[in-house]
Symmetry: C2
Subunit: 340 residues, 2 copies
Amino acid sequence: MGSTHISQLTVHDATLRDGQHAVQHQLDVPQLRAYAVAASAAGVPVVEVGHGNGLGASSRQIGYARLDDTTMLETVRNALTAGTSRMGVFMVPGWGTGADIRQAADCGADVVRIAAHCTEANVTRRHLGIVRELGLEAQAVLLMSHMTSAERLAEECRRAAEYGAHAVGIMDSAGHYLPADVTERIGAIVAAVDVPVIFHGHNNLSMAVANSIAAVEAGARCIDACARGFGAGAGNTSLEVLVAVLHRSGHETGIDLPTLLRAADIAHDLLMAGPPVIDSVSLASGLAGVFSGFKPRVLAAARAAGVDPLRVFAELGRRQVVAGQEDLIDEVVRSLKVAS
Amino acid sequence: MGSTHISQLTVHDATLRDGQHAVQHQLDVPQLRAYAVAASAAGVPVVEVGHGNGLGASSRQIGYARLDDTTMLETVRNALTAGTSRMGVFMVPGWGTGADIRQAADCGADVVRIAAHCTEANVTRRHLGIVRELGLEAQAVLLMSHMTSAERLAEECRRAAEYGAHAVGIMDSAGHYLPADVTERIGAIVAAVDVPVIFHGHNNLSMAVANSIAAVEAGARCIDACARGFGAGAGNTSLEVLVAVLHRSGHETGIDLPTLLRAADIAHDLLMAGPPVIDSVSLASGLAGVFSGFKPRVLAAARAAGVDPLRVFAELGRRQVVAGQEDLIDEVVRSLKVAS
């Protein structure tokens, strides 16, 4: 590993972005403000905010957010302590555009993540360029990363770094990894690039924290997490558990744990209906390698048709569906209903 | 490892015993029956039942169970499929006696676990002898095992095996371990004994499944778990997640996962108010290394006195309290109240 843009281990707090999936993107101004103030008080270095699917994604197909991007960003910007916490945003090209990035920059975003399916880093190129031109930190992340090999992920990350990403990495969008999977993939990526490597876990197999620690031990320098694991389905990596375990394992985060526990309590009390749970559906979804965000639609469609949702997940996994292909849910449900 | 009493990896289902802590030992006959039938249908090899603290523990100090031991055991005995699922019981000498073991044998218990604090295997000797005389499987487990070294645990387990235990092992009663801790301790025990080694995890640091896998990889042959993690505080190892991950990692359990998911749904719907959550208090308790079962009493005493429960856990950890020393909670709360 050569020079790095980020010098110490960075915990990237996705509570107010990825957590939105668990509440259909309905977080309101007082909720965003209360959590952002609390996270910043704990010294969380990056607070990400937005629609669960990122800038520009609020729509009939994906689901409308309660607030527009500008309102979300300005609320969090004003709630963060300058010099302590930077503001992050997330964007999937296609849902968001260059104009969304410029608007986010105007609202004070510091870190802009451009996401692509795990084999499609090339689609991040133009937007990474825009982020760099704006003088912001440009990050590239690969979604559904269990669907390809360590070698391919390393190659895709190398390409994103060539496009100018200041940090690159992978998301376990389906919560499918076990620690050895993470060790192999992060290790390959760390060997291929000279920028900090990002890991983002989900908890379908109860491995989100263990996988994140495996990522750090394999050389990752930026780990995503959400307060109380707030997120779709089985949830994300628990921010406060991650920080506690990192500290105990000798890794510095710059975060004050007791204060972070208060932020997590605020997240629990104000943001969520209840903490994420690894129920049978989330477990089946993780085993099948299906994007966690599919859960509500799968349950609704399966229930309406009288089909076992666990069979729907298994079939979606067999068809290797990717995030964005929600339309296939109805087709799979129909095919299983006909077959039964 | 040489000859073993149990030939394949045994998943030991503690839902109807350790889970009782989460409902103040109030499980009733229909609940016990419904879950035991469902677990047995899935092929769970051992179903443990009883008061959360084991045979004979129902009392004013520890908390009265809804049912007496005989009723609990007869209910589960009649619900299990013979030849598929054996019935387990748990006993801490002092709370239970030889008479309780004989009564359990009369009710059809197959596996009897005798538990002791991690440095006190010698107190299991007489009761292990009684279990063996009755022709039942005798197991010895060491509680709060993070409080001593791998070498000492190996020595205590070696001693229990000499007393005639057919299997020996450790409980992470406080949910304090990280996987490397488990690897070291189970490795040392496996090297010291020639009977199957048991591991029992708790999820305070979100590591229960990861720790259980580490235990298996270090040679453990019997792993405890509870449906949906049902248990005190942050809960136990999730049975269905454990089985899914074991199967994916190439380990045989003899359990049918889809049927087990239905049993887990039954546990969720019928046994628990809600699934266990790693809240700030459970996280602090695990970090401090305090027995998970203390949580309700700590919260009640701290609330009554207006003292921060996280400080109570830290102080209990500093004082190295062990399970059974619940009386110290009030003393610590008083000392913190006076000091503040």
